[in-house]
Amino acid sequence: MSGVGAVSSFQKRGKARVVSIPGARPSVHNSQLLLSTGMPSLDHLLGGGLPVGSILLLEQDRHDVYSKLFLKYYLAEGVMSGHMLTLASLDESPQTLMATLPASTDRDADEDSTTGTDRQMTIAWRYQNQSAPPAGLSSNRFSHSFDLTGTMEEDQVAKVDTCLFDGSEVESPASTGYYWPLLQHIERRITEGGLSTACNKAKTNVMRLAVHSLASPLWGWEFSRQEKDHQWHRLTTFFYGLRALVRSSFCVCLVTVPSHLFHDTALIRRLQSLADFVVRLESFQGSDKETNPIFKDYHGLFHVVKLAAINTLVPPQLDATDWVFKLRRRRMVIERLHLPPELSETVSRSQEDPLTKPRGMACMGEKLPRNLEF
């Protein structure tokens, strides 16, 4: 009989309304459907993952070394989950990017299921007749792990519905530019896949959009113009249109931008206000921070510029403000910046921020030594 705590065997008639999309899970903060970015540490910073219908803007490091890795993780995660992919890149051939994705380190589900299915259970014999749990869970996993030393096989990449945009099909780039054709291309893809929220079909898949190095010199000359020249409208209209398309469909978008090239900071502010999540990479390559002993274990600073507050008043708060990223041999991680423990004999008890420490002390000028040895 059905008492408190008993599981009822009553089943509701009709199909379940649950949307099951591979590689997606609902958020714990709000009811958003989240997708993984491919890097668990980045997912944690974004509040669990990238919500469907949002744009992540990634400001590239100076030489576009680490931002390309972020892009590859994102695409590789899409391949593993079987999502539709659309990649637009002018700076680098999209075919090269797709051919150099990191290899997955998940073991095949088939290997595990062949071991010991015919064992006679001696203790839990009541469960002998129950059917085994469904195998093949790897495609429904939220986040997969990748190994940067290996490359994903071509046949695995070929299984996924991919569309590449490299500007070659644009006939007259001088008159139309690349932004408008790309926007039309994306819209066509959304309509063909039935991913728009206006379309009543039940959604079984999402699309991952990736735009590499938007607004670089090959896309247009917006990076060098000032706000007063009023030459930004192609780029900003494209971004606004992209946001509208992504919001009204089952898509997620990653856009990387070489913001160090922009002459006027107002341009990056406009793009930041249009995007949902904004992060910036600042690598130490070639800068004087490379020799700073605090940063010697890390490869760059990771700035979280903006987090989205979708359906909430404030975004999920992060417990630290300084983040750094580090490229290990096999993967990239984002960590909190800790100062290493000072265990040397001369412990300097300064409470100032070591990044912007002024030379010389306040009270006695230069005469007071930094360390008093006894």
Binding site: H63, V65, P217, L218, F223, S224, P293, R330, T346, P369
Partner: protein, 299 residues
């Protein structure tokens, strides 16, 4: 003669030992220092290696250039596109095609016919007078990624060309060489490899009359340090005399005492340096980092 292992980036660049070959190389100079010598060095190295050169010249006449870059006894040959004689078409009536048309179109006919080529753009700023900057940049990028083209060398004066063009080409280039007016001539080199490694170097060099680079040496870095310098005061005695005189403790060390302190061998340092080696080869599942998480402990 024994082969010298070149540790300087400039040596590797000019002797074409940089692998993979830099697809788009930007060479800049200023009014004070001329980069033509270094450009000719690079081209002579290419000719000796047997690569053909397609040279688009906008300031010097091909005959003048031929005096300096001789291809009579080399495997590679040089072919000139004359954009210097009459680029605007004042005499002939038609502007020269090689400066007005996009670069890939100009080089197209020659590129497809066998063998690797190197394309040289002499004086980017003159090309900018005839072409739209966006089209020019796209042309350079397309040309650099053409299968037959081994390298595209762009030569310009960085004090003459406008800032955004310089930034645009620097963003796309895999190697940048900025020449500076120092004694002897020095250059700042930036090399971006496809694997993601970025090499920055500042080296000085001199040229021989037959266009070879010699005496390459890294320059002494005397840039102002902004970051926190490493704590070096552990080794020296920082207490000044005034503070020592103010206290009633005897804090200073005599020379004998200082010598004795420095010579003292602590027990744990004695046992270090002995013992066996640990040979470890990481497995497939291991995530072995070169750095030890205990490195920041300084016991």
């Amino acid at each position: 003669m024994a082969a010298v292992v070149s540790r300087t980036v400039l040596d590797r660049l000019v002797s074409l030992r940089e692998s993979p070959m830099l697809r788009l190389l930007l060479l800049t100079d200023t009014v004070e220092v001329c980069g033509r010598g270094l450009l000719y060095c690079l081209l002579c190295a290419h000719l000796r290696a047997g690569t053909h050169i397609l040279y688009l010249t906008t300031s010097l006449h091909p005959a003048e250039l031929h005096q300096h870059i001789k291809d009579d006894d080399t495997a590679g040959k040089i072919e000139f596109y004359d954009g210097a004689t009459d680029p605007c078409g004042w005499d002939s009536g038609e502007p020269a095609e090689c400066v007005t048309k996009p670069l890939p179109e100009v080089m197209k006919s020659r590129c497809r016919t066998g063998g690797k080529v190197v394309v040289v753009v002499d004086r980017l700023e003159h090309l900018m007078l005839h072409q739209d900057s966006g089209q020019l940049v796209r042309g350079l990028h397309t040309l650099a990624h053409e299968g037959e083209v081994e390298q595209v060398v762009v030569y310009c004066g960085r004090d003459v060309v406008c800032e955004d063009m310089l930034e645009a080409v620097t963003h796309l280039a895999s190697g940048v060489l900025h020449l500076h007016h120092t004694q002897p001539c020095s250059c700042v080199i930036l090399v971006r490899k496809p694997s993601g490694k970025v090499i920055k170097a500042q080296e000085e060099f001199s040229l021989t009359p037959d266009f070879r680079v010699q005496g390459v040496r890294p320059t002494q870095k005397n840039t102002g340090q902004v970051g926190v310098p490493a704590d070096t005061s552990a080794s020296s005695d920082p207490t000044p005399e005034s503070l020592l005189a103010a206290t009633t403790f005897s804090l200073s060390l005599t020379d004998e005492q200082r010598r004795a302190k420095n010579e003292l061998l602590l027990p744990h340092t004695r046992v270090q340096g002995e013992g066996g080696q640990i040979l470890y080869t990481p497995d497939q599942e291991d995530d072995w980092d070169e750095d030890d998480p205990d490195d920041d402990l300084d016991i």
